[in-house]
Structures are given as C-alpha cells and as structure tokens.
Symmetry: C2
C-alpha cells in the first residue's frame, strides 16, 4: 500500500496535477508537470508510474478526449485522488497496434447505454496500471459500434469498482503477476462481459453519438480521427523520455562519484593507489555516457518546450504537432535505451558495491527496464520516426503498420520524399574547407563540421532508404518483402535523424550559455558527444568516403583526448546534474559505502 499512500500524500500537497486546468484544482502548466515528473523519476519509479497513470494518462485522457461534462464530473476528483483510475488501452493480442483492439462498445438503443465486451481472451485489457487493486474507473478504448456500423476506436469511462472496492458486475480483474520491477504498481487485466455505462460516458471530443444512436464527428476520416485522439497522448512519451534521462543522471552520479573515490592499484614503486576514474578504460566507459546525458538533457528541454507550446495552444498547427510526435517517439527510444546503458555500465563500474541493493542500481535496473517497452516499444517508435521522414509527415503518424509505408513511398518521387535539410548549404562551405582526408585533428572540434557530418549522414541514409524501398516496389516485390529487405536501413535513418536533432539541440543550448567558463566547458562536452557518435559510425563514414582512414583514427584519438581533458571536471559536471543526496548511496574513501 505504501506507493498508494505516497501518491495520496503528493496529491494532498498539490504536486501531481500541475498539468490539469486550474479550474479543477490543477496548475494549468503542462511544461511544469513534465518537470515535476522528471524530478519524481530521480526517486522511486513505482511511485512515478503510479502517479503517471493517475494524473497523466487517466486524467489526461479525460481532459483531452472528454468535453466539459466529463471535466466537471471527474477532473477535481482525479486531481485529489478521490477517484483512482486506469488507462485501459493495451490488449494482450495488440500491444502496439491500438487501432486493432478487440474490445467493443455497442450502443443499446433501448436503454441508451454502452455495452462493453471483451470478445476473446486475446482482447482483454492487459498491463493496466491501477487496475489490480486501486482503480475505481477506467478509460477504456474500444471499437464504437452503432447498429451494424463500427466507427473505430473511441474512449469510454467505465466504472470498475464500487467506492468500497468491490469489483462491479460485468467486470473481471486479474493481477498480471509478479514482474521484474515496478511491483509497487498494481498492473492488472480487465475483462468486460456486457458491462453497461450511460451514453454520456463516451469521451466525445472527437466523436459523439446522439440518444437516437446517430454518430457525428468533427473529423471526417476515421483514420485521421483515430490518430488525432491517440496524438493527444504524446505527453506520455515525453514524460517517459524525461524519466529515462533522470534515471541515467542518478546512475552516472553514483558511478562517477564511486570512480572518483575508489582507488585500485598503485605505481610499481608503491605510491598511492589510483582513483578508478584516472584509468582511461574507466573514463571511456563513463564520460561519453555523461556527454550523451548532457546532450539528451538539452534535447529533452526543447521537447518539453514544444509540448507546452502545442498543448497550451500557442503553436498548434498540424506540422508542429506531427513534428512533436516524431521527436517524442525518437527521444523516448533514445533516452530509455540510454538509461538502460547507464544503469548497466554504471553498475559494472561500481563492481560488487553496485550489486548491493543499497547502491540504488537494483530497483532502478529492474524498474526502468520496461521503459524501453511501454509507451511504445522502442523499435516500433523508431519505425514511426522513419515513417514520418519517409512520407514527409504526410501519412498519419500513429499508423504502425510498416508495410503500408512501402506502398506510399512507391507512389512518390524520392526528391519529394526526402526534404532537403538546411544543412545542405553548410556542406558546400564545410566540404570546401575540410576534405575527407585532411590531416588536421583540430577540424574535428569545429561544431559546424560535426553538424555537417551528422546532417550529411542523416540525409544520405534517408535518401538511400527511400530509393531502396521505392526500387523494391517498382520491381514488383511484395510490399512486406520490400519493406523488410530494408527495415534495418530504415531504422538507421530514424536513428541518424534523432542523432542530428540531439546534436543541434545541444549546440544551441551551449550557444545560449552566458557564463564564459561554463560555456567553454560545455563546448568540450558537446565535442565529446559529437565525436563519440561519429566514432561509433566511423565504419559508415569511411564506407561513404566522407572521412578518410586517417581522419577516422583521428576521431578515436580526439575522443581519448577529450576524456583526458574532461576527467578533472567530471565531478563538477556530475554536481551540475543536481541529483539530490537523498536518492544516492553514501560515499566514503572506498567509494560507495556497503
């Protein structure tokens, strides 16, 4: 029960509903709500997810998919946690592919009610947070059916427990069972057997039904309607990205401080032993991850700002929304994989002491593990990013079926598919100055050159993926085969796009820094990030004649030199992440105190 009590405490303090409108007791500030979520993610992750489900997903669905009547009826009770609720979207048979969910909501013309059903076990709602123990209501995503007609997936408010906690008629609930982590969250499965709710329980912002059973919607295309509904949930991905970033900050703070204080092996003459962080191999493990954490920090800040602009209505055109959805998907994938990396590398860098639960790695490793899967499997998300790019944001963002994309691409000219980046002009100039086999190591630390290398890769990979996809279809290959033959290539296109956006955000952040000393330090951290990424892809850059073998070796040399240069300031860079001591282990002269 502890986690629910913590949630109540936070709700009582007014810390968890910054994103809800002020009239219902919220803070009316979406950006601040994400910042609060990122802060909470430094601590216990079951609490994070439990509150995320209640205030972000359950509350967010009612706010964004419901209308005035729903807001009046539910939001204040959600904000105060009087009404604990669930967000019942995923099903056992369809985790990623929400458009295909099997749950039905059929309109009963006589009683003027919705009848909710789970046709088969594969259609049960699965992994639903707050379902197994605390939830009293759920927002249920189901196929809306009037008469013989299916109007596609819509959201309904369905009570599941009485005020006293008894499961209601027509509802069956199971616990999903013990999990690797997040066992403080009561994930459950929901089955509906003719559960009945009034007509008005349809969240009808994008589609409503009259008493006589007539369906109307402001959005004509059912596909577009569906993706508009799902699109309002982009906030969840931005939140998880921020949480992943917070977890990586805790992991690296632990590992770097341990590496600074723990000493092993001394000089042969018997002098003092050497701090782990003085060893190049140790620097190589931790400092590029630290640089990536900084890079993601700047990108995440940009993403939260964009989310706030779109959701506050300050900037809500279609293009801004699609670009936000694409960034959120990509950054979520990157930040959560990064969290797993930082936890694994950090634990190993702390040796046995990192294996003690008291070091903090135990629960974070177990809990954050699922970040790479929930709110969208990372590989599926990268596919969505690629799709946005390959269709020039013209196809609906959320449509996950990758096979359709191949068909769309085939109908377009490659030149239309791949938008020319602004970087193109930059290249002309940069490539004149710096040839692929230039011997000048110093060039590598020029930001413009780094940006040009990133952007060039992005465009080249995207364009060749488009050509291959199109070529396959033109040659009459089956669309699945055509897609599948370059799926790896398509994923690289997504990755290189996100890589570039991250470097741009970091570079912009550094530019804006007003303190010259701090700025100079950040410049070097940004160099380390950029060169580490180029180092990872140096095989590709050589394959495409963009850097020579000589320059490729220089990249490795420069990464080493940057590790060396940044090592004395590693602890300052960590301190600046401001992870509070209360979520960290204690450190002594031998590192983490066991």
């Amino acid at each position: 029960m502890a986690v629910f009590d913590w949630s109540t405490f936070l709700a009582d303090q007014g810390h968890t509903n910054l994103g809800l409108p002020e009239v219902y007791g919220g803070g009316g500030d979406v950006g601040a709500s994400i910042a609060a979520f990122e802060t909470l993610a430094l601590g216990d992750l079951s609490l994070l997810v439990k509150t995320g489900v209640q205030f972000g997903l359950f509350g967010g669905a009612i706010l964004h998919l419901g209308t005035r009547v729903h807001h009046d009826r539910y939001l204040a009770e959600i904000a105060s946690l009087e009404l604990p609720g669930c967000f019942a979207m995923s099903e056992s048979g369809h985790g990623s592919d929400v458009q295909s969910v099997g749950t039905t909501a059929t309109y009963d013309y006589e009683s003027r009610e919705w009848v909710i059903n789970t046709p088969s076990d594969a259609d049960r709602k699965d992994w639903i947070g707050n379902a197994a123990v605390h939830g009293k209501a759920a927002v249920v995503f189901a196929q809306l059916i009037t008469g013989e007609e299916n109007h596609g997936v819509h959201a309904f408010v369905v009570p599941i427990r009485s005020d006293r906690g008894k499961v209601l008629d027509g509802v069956r609930i199971e616990d999903v069972g013990h999990k690797i982590g997040l066992n403080g969250v009561d994930n459950g499965r929901l089955y509906f057997d003719s559960a009945r709710v009034p007509l008005s329980n349809l969240l009808d912002r994008y589609g409503s039904v009259t008493e006589s059973g007539e369906y109307t919607s402001s959005i004509e295309s059912p596909t577009r309607r569906f993706f508009t509904m799902v699109g309002t949930l982009v906030q969840g991905r931005v939140s998880v990205a921020g949480a992943g970033l917070s977890v990586s900050k805790v992991a690296l703070t632990t590992a770097v401080r341990h590496g600074e204080s723990r000493r092993q092996f001394g000089p042969p003459d018997g002098g003092e032993e050497v701090p782990l962080l003085d060893y190049r191999a140790h620097q190589r493990r931790l400092l590029p991850l630290l640089a990536s954490t900084y890079a993601l920090h700047f990108k995440q800040a940009e993403l939260v700002r964009d989310l706030d602009l779109v959701f506050s209505g300050a900037e809500d055109d279609e293009q801004a929304r699609r670009s936000l959805e694409t960034s959120a998907a990509g950054v979520k994938a990157f930040a959560t994989w990064h969290a797993v990396d930082c936890l694994q590398t950090g634990r190993e860098a702390c040796g046995g002491l990192g294996y003690l639960s008291s070091s903090g790695f135990a629960s974070r490793k177990a809990d954050a593990e699922i970040f790479t899967t929930f709110e969208g499997d990372n590989t599926v998300l990268l596919q969505l990013v690629a799709k946005s790019l390959l269709t020039g944001y013209r196809e609906e963002f959320g449509d996950l079926n990758p096979i359709g994309m191949a068909g769309f691409v085939a109908t377009q000219a490659v030149s239309r598919l791949v938008e020319r980046t602004a970087a193109r002009e930059l290249w002309g100039r940069i490539w004149d100055e710096i040839t692929p086999d230039s011997e000048e190591d110093g060039d590598l630390n020029k930001r413009e050159y780094q940006l040009a290398l990133f952007a060039w890769r992005e465009e080249h990979v995207l364009e060749s993926a488009a050509r291959r996809l199109k070529g396959g279809i033109d040659d009459g290959i089956d669309p699945f085969e055509a897609f599948n033959a370059c799926q790896d290539h398509v994923l690289v296109a997504a990755r290189s796009h996100i890589d570039t956006r991250i470097l741009e955000a970091f570079a912009k952040g550094v530019e804006l820094c007003e303190d010259e000393t701090v700025k100079a330090l950040l410049e070097r951290v940004c160099d380390l990030y950029a060169l580490s990424v180029i180092e990872q892809h140096r095989g590709w850059y050589q394959e495409h004649g963009r850097i020579s073998s000589t320059r490729s070796k220089a990249v490795i040399r420069n990464v080493n030199a940057l590790c060396d240069e940044l090592r004395p300031q590693a602890c300052d860079l960590i301190d600046a992440l401001r992870v509070p001591d209360c979520v960290l282990p204690e450190f002594g002269p031998g590192g983490i105190v066991g």
Copy 2:
C-alpha cells in the same frame, strides 16, 4: 533455507562432487564437474553459486592447496555437505588485487597456532558465500607471518561456527545485505580478532611451516608461489564462463520461440499477421547473438577439455597452464558479457511478456548480472589477457598491477613480444587471392579469409599496442601514464585475441562434424558469427586498409543475407541447444503465456 536444502539434495544424489577425488566420495572427473555446473546453470543461479562455493571453491581450495592430511580430514565431509564452508579471499579494500590482502596469520611459537587477524575494516573478508548463515569453516587467504617475516599470501582452514551454528570466539560475521540478485546465497563479511587455529590448518602444498616456525616451500620465488596457488583456481573462471553460456542459451531459447509464435502487423490487404522473427530487425537482434552462442559453445568445450587435461595431469607443463589461464580469463569475460547482452536483448524482444517474472528473465537478469564482476572483473581479466600476450606469457599471469607491465614491455624488443602467429603464412596466400577492394561478395564466406582477417587484426593491434607502450617508456613517460595512454588499445588487443580463438574453435568444431546436413548448417552459423564480428570492426578494417569501403558494405549485406537464410532454421538451432522445458516459460499462439 530452500537453496541449502536443494544443495543437500544434490549432494545426497552425488551430483555435485564430480570434481573431487574418488577416494573421498567424488567422481574424479574435472571435465564432468564443469559439465554438471553448466547444466545446473540452466536453472536457479542461487543454487548454482551456493554449490559452486561449497564444492568448487571451498572443496577445490582444500584439494589443490592442501595436502593428504587436509584431504583426509575434510574432503568427504565437504562432498556430503556435512561441513558447509567458505572461500574467504576477497576483502573490502582489495577485490581484484589479492596479493595485497590485509588479513594476517601470525605464527605463535608458544602455542604452535596461527593467530588470524583483520587489521582494519577495509581488510574484512567481503562477499563471502556461505558465510552469513551456513558456513562452519572457511579457507582464509592471509599474509603468512613468522617472527618478523611476511612470506606472502597463504590459505588457512579457519572454523567459524560450531556444529550448532554458533559463531566462534574471535570471529565476527555480518550479512552483506540485500543484493540485486542471488539472494539465495548468504554472502557475508568475516572479521577475525585473534582467532586461533592449529599449525596444521595451513594448507601447505606450496609452503609449509615446521613446529619451530621455519618456513619452507618448493617454489623459491614468493611471487611465483603466490601465482601458482591462485592459478589452481582457474576452474572457477572456466565454470563461470560455462554458466554465462548456459544463461545465454536459456535467454535466446525464450526469445526465439517467442519471436516464432508471436505475430504482429499483417500485409495491408488484411492477410495473416507476421511472426516477429520474420522481421529483419528482429532477426538482426537475435540471430547474430545465437551465432555467437554457438561460437562460444565450441570455445567453451575446448576450454573444459584443456582444463581437464591440465588438472588430470595429462598435460601440465607451464606453457599449457598459462595458456589455459589466459583463455579462461578471456572467455569468462566474453561469455558473461554475452549473457548480459542476451538477457537484455531477449527481454526486450519479448516485450511486456518478458517483463513478467514468469518469463524467467527477472531472476536471471538479476542473478547473472554479477557474473561480469565476480571471479574477476571482466575489464581486469581482459587486461590480464593482454598482459600474457604482451609479455609472451613470461610474466606471472595473475599479477594484476597493469603498471608494471609497461616496464617489462619496455625492456623487450617488439619482435620478441609479439609471437608470430601461424596465420602469417596463410595471409600471404589469401591476400594474393583476395584484395582489399575485391568486389566478390562470395569471398566473405571463405573460412580461410575470415580467419585471416581475424588473425591479422589480432597481430596488428597487439604489435601496435606493444610499440606504443614501449615508445612511451622509452620517451621517459611515467609508467602509469605510458600504460594509461594506451589502456584502451591494450584492451582491444585482448579482445581481438579472444575473438580469433573463438572463431578458430568454432571452425574446428564445424570441421569435425560428421553429418553433412548439420555441417552445412553450422558452416553458415559460423559465417554469421565471423561476419558479425567483422561488421562490428569494419571501421577498424577500413582504417587499416584491410578492406575497402565496397567490401565493408558487402559485409553488412552478407550478414543480412545470412539472417535471411538461417531464419527458417532458427528454431532447429535453438532446439539443438537442448534447454529443458522445465526452466522455460510456457509458449502459446501469442508467444510466452503470461
């Protein structure tokens, strides 16, 4: 208590002491004992470690470091688990650097006893399995002191609990606390405050003390004596390597079977959904890991055979022993990192279902996590491998201080340091046939060409690391700085050495296969392993002019083609690993049954 009861059951069945001599109730078969350990590693890993400590480490230390009197006194009771015991080597302040342990065993001339002491908290024995609850005795590694003289680290049998389980005078025991995993093992900390044991409790195979306190040893050099003693423990590393390999087999069996049965997304025309494993991205995640598992399987079999030869005395020259120690260190590092990879990738590939504890990933991820640290931190082990290579096996294997190595290397000619591999002759021929920019994709599947690429890299990296190390010292750079400036390079040398040995073992294993159909299949798996490794290092191969950019792209293409080709047989390859159903989750039409 469960895990101890399981251990007792296994001991009663005679399954756990295959490695102990027959006269004491054992099986007298070292190779079989490792095979048993590898089998046990398919199941519960706390049980594995608990029995490993008892029969492998505790029993092994008494067997290898003790003499007849100790064998007679202890081995039968160890084999039957009447005497549960500990292996007390690591200390809080010195995990990896055993030569520097602080615990002392001082000879008391009057009482003819050893007085065991823990001088400071940093010298407490830490992480000792069987210590916190069950152990009645411990083999304690301590500095042997007679009069004023320290004869270096030796092992002593020290009782720690009475038969009724009461902690004895002079001994203090703490639990290390809750851990990420392996909580079925009672890891503890031991402090000694003038604990007294008789003279004969010194395990005196390599050094003994007379009643009058005179020290004698068959090995004159104290350093060599120490490393001979520690060397007998190579069995632990071979065992952990095998356990890591078993864990990776379970993880991949789960993930591949899930990928075969779970379907997501269908063709746009609404046909049947596609099994996950049909997607290239999914194949790319799992099949190269499967190929590496096969490769490691063959290398591990070779390692176990070598261990058996050395320990049975069939092949016990210095060179065979050092080569075994080097292989064991490298394969342990590779196999345990591989296990972590397979668990992480496998869990992600199973999505949410992999997050349920019932899928088996939960406990294995938590338990196997520490495999990369215990029995030698993997990075430290790779450094040992590099040291063996760089000193031509002339320096003591176990001496971990990397800084001394730089000094040794400086005194030698590079040509003496880097042994010319037999592959050299091969190259002349292969390079004549296949030029770096040949356009023939087919060349890539020639085993000789793959072996030549691996061996060429190995020798090139090692030679250049030796040159840099030597160059640094010759230039008068401080030995630590000289070592540190190429630590990353030195680690690459170790890795490329192990890569090559693994490919050689796999290739040899395929050669010996008598069934032509199976052999043909294994050839392709071996190709996938070899080309995946070359793909990882294609940046390096291009930097060194060994493959052209054209050929580098062909490597990627061939890895894709091999994934495609092997996909239909993925389940056969998994079945052949023979992971028993009882350690796997249940599979249904939707994949893992949750």
